[in-house]
Symmetry: C2
Subunit: 406 residues, 2 copies
Amino acid sequence: MDNRCRICDGMVKGAVDLGMQPRANAFPLPGETSDEFFFRLTVGMCDSCTMVQLLEDIPQEVRYHDGYPYHASGSAGHRRHFEGIAETFLEAELTGRDPFIAEIGSNDGVMLAKIAEAGVRHLGVEPSREVAELSMSRGVQVLPEFFDESTAERICAEHGHADVVFGANAIAHISHLASVLRGVERLLARDGVFVFEEPYLGSVVAQTAFDMLYDEHSFVFSVRAIQAAAERFGLELVRVEHVPLHGGSMRYTLARPGQRPVSPAVHEWRGLEDAGRLAEHATLEDFGRRARRIGDDLAGLLGDLRAKGHRVVGYGAPAKAATVTNYCGIGPDVVPFVCDSTPSKQGRVIAGTHIPVKSPKAFSDDYPDYALLFAWNHAEEIMAKERKFSERGGRWILYVPEVHIV
Amino acid sequence: MDNRCRICDGMVKGAVDLGMQPRANAFPLPGETSDEFFFRLTVGMCDSCTMVQLLEDIPQEVRYHDGYPYHASGSAGHRRHFEGIAETFLEAELTGRDPFIAEIGSNDGVMLAKIAEAGVRHLGVEPSREVAELSMSRGVQVLPEFFDESTAERICAEHGHADVVFGANAIAHISHLASVLRGVERLLARDGVFVFEEPYLGSVVAQTAFDMLYDEHSFVFSVRAIQAAAERFGLELVRVEHVPLHGGSMRYTLARPGQRPVSPAVHEWRGLEDAGRLAEHATLEDFGRRARRIGDDLAGLLGDLRAKGHRVVGYGAPAKAATVTNYCGIGPDVVPFVCDSTPSKQGRVIAGTHIPVKSPKAFSDDYPDYALLFAWNHAEEIMAKERKFSERGGRWILYVPEVHIV
Ligand SMILES: Nc1ncnc2c1ncn2[C@@H]1O[C@H](CSCC[C@H](N)C(=O)O)[C@@H](O)[C@H]1O
Ligand SMILES: Nc1ncnc2c1ncn2[C@@H]1O[C@H](CSCC[C@H](N)C(=O)O)[C@@H](O)[C@H]1O
Ligand SMILES: [Mg+2]
Ligand SMILES: [Mg+2]
Ligand SMILES: [Zn+2]
Ligand SMILES: [Zn+2]
């Protein structure tokens, strides 16, 4: 187990072990499940910069490829969110003579499409070909590669410095984060900003959302760890804003030192983290123990319901579903199928546990007694949309922040 | 000292004592400072529902009156914020046949003006006449009274049930909160929502922002205390969103029980509060001790600077400035004046310490050596706007989260 910190020269001590786990977004075809990839999912905290990270690194080419199934525009709420971000950038940051914005992990162009519409110079860096081509069809300029120091050098040479470098649910997915930070520092204009939003360690720990841990999430960021990493690579953390996506995310704004005033929100969140002892190894260990208890509770509940002849179906097949089903040993015998609105996942199975993924029609055509909500971060939209299921006596099983039935 | 809880039948034990304090928004004329109102500012936590509240209640008629000086539209950032809220309500909640929205503390119409523009039925409840008249001039319907159970009854009789009841930096200002909650429960439509945003206890404690405590803030809300209060008055907390205003606020959405799904953000924030022990009396006592230390540090620094012949001027005269200047004994001998862009405060003095309030011109005409930033929650906008002051060697004194110079 390689436990040197990926950011500084500290050592990473393992604190949470979720056992053998597959590639969460693999979604193999039913026939292709013989030689599946598995790795030991252990998460630790650096004893020096406190960055929380996977101990084992899964090569990016294995994780991101032509058929990568996640489509950022899949959720209406997320679409509105990213369109709002594009508008804010257009009003606040892309106001100079000839502004230029680059996005890391631009996916299907959910944010850059609005920038392209406004006729502003931009470049999406997106290695997964299918989603990259989708965004090109929406008029977005895309470099179909993995962002790192060298790509940054080339982008800078060809397009000049960037007023904004943006990333959402992508920066924490890149294990060579040190190279990314060096690249951004090289690419940023004098008064440019590096803005990224990722699932927030404080929120994951506070809700014991252990299913947020999977191969693609190389890191789980905290304000303290990002502040330290920024400083180490010649940048300064100047603002943080909590974002309600993915169960609780944090948006970080980095600038060149002294270029921007530091928002009081940076002190606010450092204070909240210190109060919750978020930078202590013991906190992560407690999180791991709570995860074990929730896993046992969930497996127990599903076993009881099955014994009593109740039918349980999964609702939503996000990458998170692989972590919780593999960790709790939940297979098609207990959950016959899971419904999901993403076409590229339908007809396939959850990696590792092989629970079939079907269209939402399979759920609404024949309501089960219980729906196990894997997409718990979308609970509001889903429960409102599936109101009829509840009115007909259907119940939701949730396991965040603990196992409970609604 | 009356220490029965204003929400439940628990007892409130004092934890923080900021000594004798004036009405923070009084801003008397220089000649009117002989018979000023003072009260003992002590803050405690209810031993049952954990609601944090002032022990001494200052009558609302004393605090809110014709000439109440705070104009919500005074800050560009706040204007954008409240216009965004109006748009969200128009898109998400005011979509029925004949929607109706009421706002408590509508002030100068910063939010309702947009609702009125859209031709949607609305009513602002605003007892301070000057700002009430300002909003009427912007086409906003206003009831110039204090909102409570009886006003709610009359509004319901005349206008019918409300799809939205909104309040910003107003609900925590009303000591008869129990009556407000009963009124809102009476006024809300079956699927209506009560949305309010107020400074957040977690943020105040995390930054030791003791200057956020003053006569108008009867309560400092936490998610746990609001969840309990909602339940006690027949409502349910269904969503919370962190808002970066006023140094860190929280927006609460309450609905009739079972009408709306509960957002995972409610569990997220309850978990963050539990991790930070926010509901423990000892946490509030520690906060009080840190406030004392910061007060001494600030007084010490200002004394040193004065001894070395440096000129210090105050920047921004928010209500908070009264708390910190009275608590630290900072008078015109140490800070000759403070500049503020609000016309209704210029030519007047800070209550209790009588530091004169002048226009921003007095600051920019003759830069001091140091600017003591009372309006620290606007640090980003102010430091960017006053860039020339820093470039000329001017330094900012901040005292949140501790005394430091930038
Ligand atoms: N090194 C790298 N450089 C650029 N993009 C990368 C990358 N590694 C992974 N990605 C991309 O990052 C994306 C993560 S999914 C997130 C998509 C979108 N930004 C959203 O927030 O919803 C994938 O599209 C993946 O292909
Ligand atoms: N009982 C009550 N009912 C309605 N408004 C009240 C009230 N007590 C105080 N207020 C009003 O609440 C306002 C607080 S100032 C906040 C104004 C604005 N909502 C903002 O967020 O910036 C004042 O205008 C005051 O007159
Ligand atoms: Mg992610
Ligand atoms: Mg207030
Ligand atoms: Zn490290
Ligand atoms: Zn109480």
